[in-house]
């Protein structure tokens, strides 16, 4: 495939051709099979067992154990007598995240292998691949799909010949939410639904539905070839979207536990804070030296506003040497976003901008979210630009109370994630809040740097 336009910069920290996710160039089906090997023949139950042994969990943000989802779909199918459906979720509604688009562009056959494997695992006969509209991915993937054989040796995974229907979904933050996606595939709006029964029981057309992020499916395609022990040993890689101080994004493939400095490149792991996960993620303070208690002096970036001291929460600052994993950071990796906030920016202005976006992106269906998010966004906007009459203490108290009120009280986790972001900002940027109350700010007049609109593809700028 000759791609005149590559969607974004990518870097793979792994060089092994048959175990990496992101090939340097997209491969047609024959070369793909030559590099990775053909799809192995495994029956559904053994595949689920392999997924369990591998410890694979979802890469879309919720990190749910994949084997449990697959088992639940199999069980629901058995009980109801209905054929399940597989939905590969590549809709990536996070404006700041690009990893799913990168994967779909550079490794579409790995994703489609994963779809075939997942379908075999749950006994599905239909599959959908959801992608965000506006990037040409729909046409690209339909073309890729036509390269694949429509039949294989009887009884093998490759014999799963049902076509994958590629569907372009609206570029909205919630389009990829599980029930919203199912709603859209059923011909309704791409908005979350109240699910009396979970999607794995009653999803597309009311039948058992396995929804998996495209990166999860790509991992599945590698686990099927290299075995669960290979994956469990940590040899598998994860995809991250690193956003630098100048705002430019790079999708990076690296093993879990790789240090921040290795992910960003030497010298680039600098700034006052990092947003981990996505817009439902967590702000963590960033320090340039070793972590406190690691046996060496913690040195703080000059002018660093991020506060990791007592009273701001219990999390240590991230340093360039910090291993990037949920265990090491103490927070979920979410959609794999790592957005660096430089010293000359304001975390409160960024968060206010994101909260405004999240408010506008709410489905507006649920009272607590509908009421709470706009109030939180307005309060944060006031923290970002307080006037002499602003009561910072009251804003703080209101924000904490509202964060509690909107959590767990909606058809989806949009309010929960938004509350997490707001709380982490109050903790990590506590010093900035103080400064603002005295009329000072790190970056009073600059517009926010984190994107709040779908990102267009850019021409290939070279390696």
């Amino acid at each position: 495939m000759n791609a005149a336009v590559m969607p974004m910069r990518v870097r793979s920290l792994t060089t092994s051709a048959d175990t990496r996710l992101l090939a340097p160039e997209p491969l047609d089906h024959q070369p793909h099979c030559a590099v990775y090997g053909g799809l192995p023949q495994i029956d559904g139950e053994r595949l689920v067992a392999a997924v369990e042994h591998a410890g694979l969990s979802g890469q879309g943000g919720a990190a749910f154990p994949t084997h449990r989802k697959m088992t639940a779909v199999r069980e629901a199918a058995r009980r109801s007598g209905r054929r399940p459906v597989v939905v590969a979720n590549g809709s990536e509604g996070e404006p700041a995240s690009a990893k799913d688009k990168a994967l779909l562009w550079f490794a579409p056959h790995l994703v489609l292998d994963g779809v075939a494997l997942a379908a075999a695992a749950v006994g599905a006969q239909r599959a959908f691949l959801a992608v965000e509209a506006g990037h040409g991915l729909g046409r690209y993937l339909a073309e890729v799909g036509r390269q694949r054989p429509t039949a294989g040796p009887a009884g093998s995974v490759a014999a799963w010949s049902a076509p994958v229907t590629v569907v372009e979904v609206p570029s909205r933050f919630l389009s990829g939410q599980e029930s919203a996606l199912v709603s859209f595939l059923d011909g309704g709006p791409a908005l979350p639904r109240f699910q009396v029964r979970p999607v794995f029981e009653r999803g597309v057309r009311g039948g058992p539905t396995l929804v998996q992020n495209v990166e999860t499916l790509a991992h599945l395609a590698l686990i099927a070839r290299h075995g669960p022990a290979w994956y469990r040993s940590g040899a598998g890689t994860s995809l991250f979207t690193v956003r630098y101080a100048d705002g430019s994004p790079t999708v990076v493939e690296a093993a879990l536990g790789t240090s921040l400095a290795q992910l960003t490149g030497a010298g680039a792991a600098a700034g006052q804070a990092v947003l981990v996960g996505g817009y439902h993620g967590t702000w963590l303070p960033l320090a340039s030296g070793a972590r406190p208690g690691a046996g060496s002096d913690a040195s703080w970036g000059a002018g660093c506003r991020a506060n990791s001291g007592a009273g701001s929460g219990t999390r240590d600052a991230v340093t360039p040497d910090t291993a990037i994993s949920a265990e090491s950071l103490g927070v979920p990796l979410g959609a794999g976003l790592l957005a660096l906030l430089p010293h000359d920016r304001c975390g409160l202005i960024e968060t206010a901008s994101i909260l405004r976006y999240l408010t506008l992106e709410s489905a507006g269906q649920c009272g607590p979210c509908l009421n709470g998010l706009p109030r939180m966004a307005a309060a944060f906007a006031e923290l970002a630009h307080p006037t002499s009459g602003s009561d910072i203490g009251r804003l703080h108290a209101d924000l904490s109370r509202w964060a509690g009120l909107i959590t767990g009280r909606g058809a989806c986790r949009h309010p929960d994630g938004s509350a997490r972001l707001a709380r982490s900002a109050l903790a990590t940027f506590a010093a900035e809040v103080q400064a603002h109350s005295y009329g000072r700010c790190s970056a009073p007049i600059r517009p926010p740097m984190l994107p709040t609109a779908p990102q267009a593809s850019v021409p290939n700028e070279g390696p």
Binding site: Q365, P368, N371
Partner: protein, 85 residues
């Protein structure tokens, strides 16, 4: 799901609660319009928040509240309240 083979006497209707399985109140948030009837009927379980929406305590419906809970479910104008396991 009700296991009718073990605890229900043959003469008992399956709609009466002869077996005390714990039930919890739950809300379809996309339907709830903050009418507040559920909070009125079940004050020990449900309190309206500052916008009128129900805050439901994370505990099963106590036995003495079961009848009121079923009433609240059937009287919710938005059909938003439900009782589940």
């Amino acid at each position: 799901m009700a296991d009718q083979s073990t605890t229900t006497p043959p003469s008992a209707s399956t709609t009466t609660t002869t077996h005390r399985r714990p039930q919890r109140a739950a809300v379809d948030w996309t339907a709830c319009q903050a009418h507040g009837g559920c909070a009125d009927l079940l004050p020990e379980l449900i309190t309206p928040d500052e916008w009128g929406y129900p805050v439901i305590r994370d505990r099963p419906v106590p036995d003495e509240a079961r009848r009121r809970a079923r009433k609240a479910v059937s009287e919710c104008p938005a059909l938003a309240l439900m009782l589940r396991r």
